[in-house]
């Protein structure tokens, strides 16, 4: 009896127990769909997160103040006092001191209330320089950004994030309007394009003013020269670590610190953020895939269960086939193919369900699902392997039955 004949026999057995076969297939189907979806969701989230982090700007290093050691030797917490100043940022901008750094944007951020007409809106107001737009990889939807001249003259101009503009002015024309902060009028000169939000901030709800304006007019006092974050842009991807070295050496020098472990600032790279986030989501994906894999295992046990039932229910049939000349191999093959058919149908239908859900779900849950063809092919393969491997035992049992015992059984 050849494979084709075995297949026909197996198929008619699957077909004649349609309900039972369907339920078994359902077990595999759900497992496969779950695996495809969880892996897809994991990959999709990873993609989303790295896209979000990359949207901060490319080849970015972030210098944050912190960990200053005072004379008593007590370390302050990160960010507890501003150890970074505008002078640090200007030094970093020098192409002699730091040739691998192509852009520097110092930020001085405070939360303030903005007033326009009768509307009040509290948002984070950032004082920075003209290079911010490039370094943070942002664009303007209308108007213009603050210029070097605005910074020199401490001009009372302001650029708004798209949401901030929306809150204050609604549908009105924004550029040319006036916004009052701490009783001082500012002229709106531009509005930023939308950028979504990263893990901690809403990138569309903010206001930008010239650095010097923020320092003198809005903050003042001893804190006036302090900087909350300095963004550094490396000239290229390959120069990122050189830029890191230069920034660290330069800042340690400026702060007269010899031991880099005692640094009163910290430099982190966007890559580090990406890899941390990726690692977290990878772990999550593996975990979820494990759970989905378990359901696949349960599906496989379902196949085995049904195959065992099928064998014991058809003991007489097996005996008869043997009496009529079926060698053990043909019987084993018949049951193995039957299990493989169940596995394959479960795999195919599960893949269809999984891929369909992967196409429809993102619209509902708002996070992307990446379906890789390799994962789909693999899960179908796994489904067949599960069907066959859980079918081996029942099939072997069937093949080993003595013809006469099988014939006599009821």
């Amino acid at each position: 009896m050849n494979w084709l004949e075995s297949f026909r026999t197996s198929w008619s057995a699957v077909y004649s127990h349609a309900l039972r076969s369907t339920l078994t297939v359902l077990g595999i189907l759900i497992g496969i769909a779950a695996v495809i979806l969880t892996v897809g969701l994991g990959l999709g989230t990873q993609k989303d997160v790295s896209a979000q982090i990359s949207s901060l700007g490319s080849n970015l290093l972030i210098v944050a103040p912190g960990s200053s050691t005072d004379t008593s030797g007590v370390r302050g917490g990160f960010g507890s006092s501003s150890t970074l100043t505008r002078a640090d940022a200007d030094a970093l901008a020098s192409s002699v001191n730091a040739p691998d750094i192509s852009g520097v944007a110092a930020e001085k951020t405070t939360s303030l209330s903005l007033e326009a007409n009768d509307t009040n809106w509290t948002t984070s107001v950032t004082g920075t320089t003209a290079s911010w737009l490039d370094v943070r990889a942002r664009t303007l939807s209308t108007g213009e950004f603050i210029s070097a001249e605005d910074d020199e003259t401490s001009a009372a101009v302001i650029v708004l994030g798209s949401e901030t503009a929306d809150e204050l002015f609604g549908t009105q024309r924004v550029v040319g309007q006036s916004v009052v902060i701490s009783d001082k009028p500012f002229q709106v000169i531009g509005v930023l394009d939308t950028a979504g939000s990263d893990s901690s901030d809403n990138l569309d709800d903010l206001a930008i003013v010239p650095f010097s304006t923020a320092a003198s007019v809005l903050v003042g006092g001893t804190e006036s020269a302090a900087v909350s974050t300095i963004y550094l842009q490396a000239a290229s991807d390959g120069q990122l670590s050189a830029a890191y070295q230069e920034a660290e050496t330069l800042l340690l020098n400026l702060h007269s610190i010899t031991d880099s472990t005692a640094a009163d600032f910290s430099i982190s790279s966007q890559d580090a953020l990406v890899s941390t986030a990726t690692a977290v989501y990878e772990t999550l994906t593996i975990l979820l895939t494990g759970v989905a894999g378990l359901s696949l295992l349960v599906g496989g046990i379902g196949v085995m269960n049904i195959m065992l039932v099928s064998v014991s229910e058809r003991t007489r049939e097996i005996g008869l086939r043997k009496a009529l000349g079926a060698p053990p191999g043909a019987i084993r093959r018949q049951f193995l193919i039957e299990a493989a058919i169940l596995g394959l149908s479960g795999g195919l239908l599960g893949a269809i369900l999984g891929v369909t859900a992967a196409l429809l779900l993102p619209g509902v849950i708002g996070s992307s699902i990446v379906v890789s063809p390799a994962a789909v092919a693999l899960s179908i393969g796994v489904a067949i392997v599960i069907g066959v491997s859980f079918g081996v035992y029942p099939a072997t049992r069937a093949a080993r039955l003595a013809p006469i015992d099988a014939l006599r059984s009821e």
Partner: protein, 239 residues
Amino acid sequence: MVDPTPTDAPVIELRGAGKTYRSGSIEFEALKGIDLAIHEGEYVAIMGPSGSGKSTIMNVLGCLDTLTRGEYRLGGTDVNDLDEVDLAAIRNRQIGFVFQGFNLLSSLPAWRNVELPLIYGGVPRNERKERAEQALVRVGLGDRFENRPGELSGGQQQRVAVARALVGEPTMILADEPTGNLDSVSTQDVLALFDELHARGRTIVLITHELEVARRAARIVWVRDGEILRDELNEDVAA
């Protein structure tokens, strides 16, 4: 011992054949060391009361069951020396079974049941259907190809079983009560078929407890309590 063609070696030869069934600690000796030789082309009826060991003999002859003592030679070969695959091939090519219970597959239509031995014999698909239908026509079921066993009467099912035994053109037919469920007309039909097969040189071993049926055979072996009581030529036929 009757031996109509003493020059030939017998196709079937049981020597001191014993079969003891064990279920747990209980043993039952169903065959108590019997000797039986059947030559090619013989038509033998095995008769005996219920429980005398007739089906046990047939199972051994058909290579479905093994002896616990003594030996069984089929065509000169000791079946103990054969493995499962060889035995499967022998059952497929040389033996046509008619079981005491019909043993049809209820999910398959008549012709598919008849076709089964041909599948394992490697006969091509289109030829199988043709031969299965011819066999059904021969047993008088020319209009019942597509009916499942559940849609057939007991006698018709019996005839499907006979058709299945014929279809592979085996050299030997082993029939266990093939007429047990048939009315007298159908019985005559089936027996006529066996006569015809016998005339064409097939070896036939027919198990029955009806003397009338046994009388169609040339030789009658009487079994009782696992022993051969008498082994005689049937005067009516042999004459």
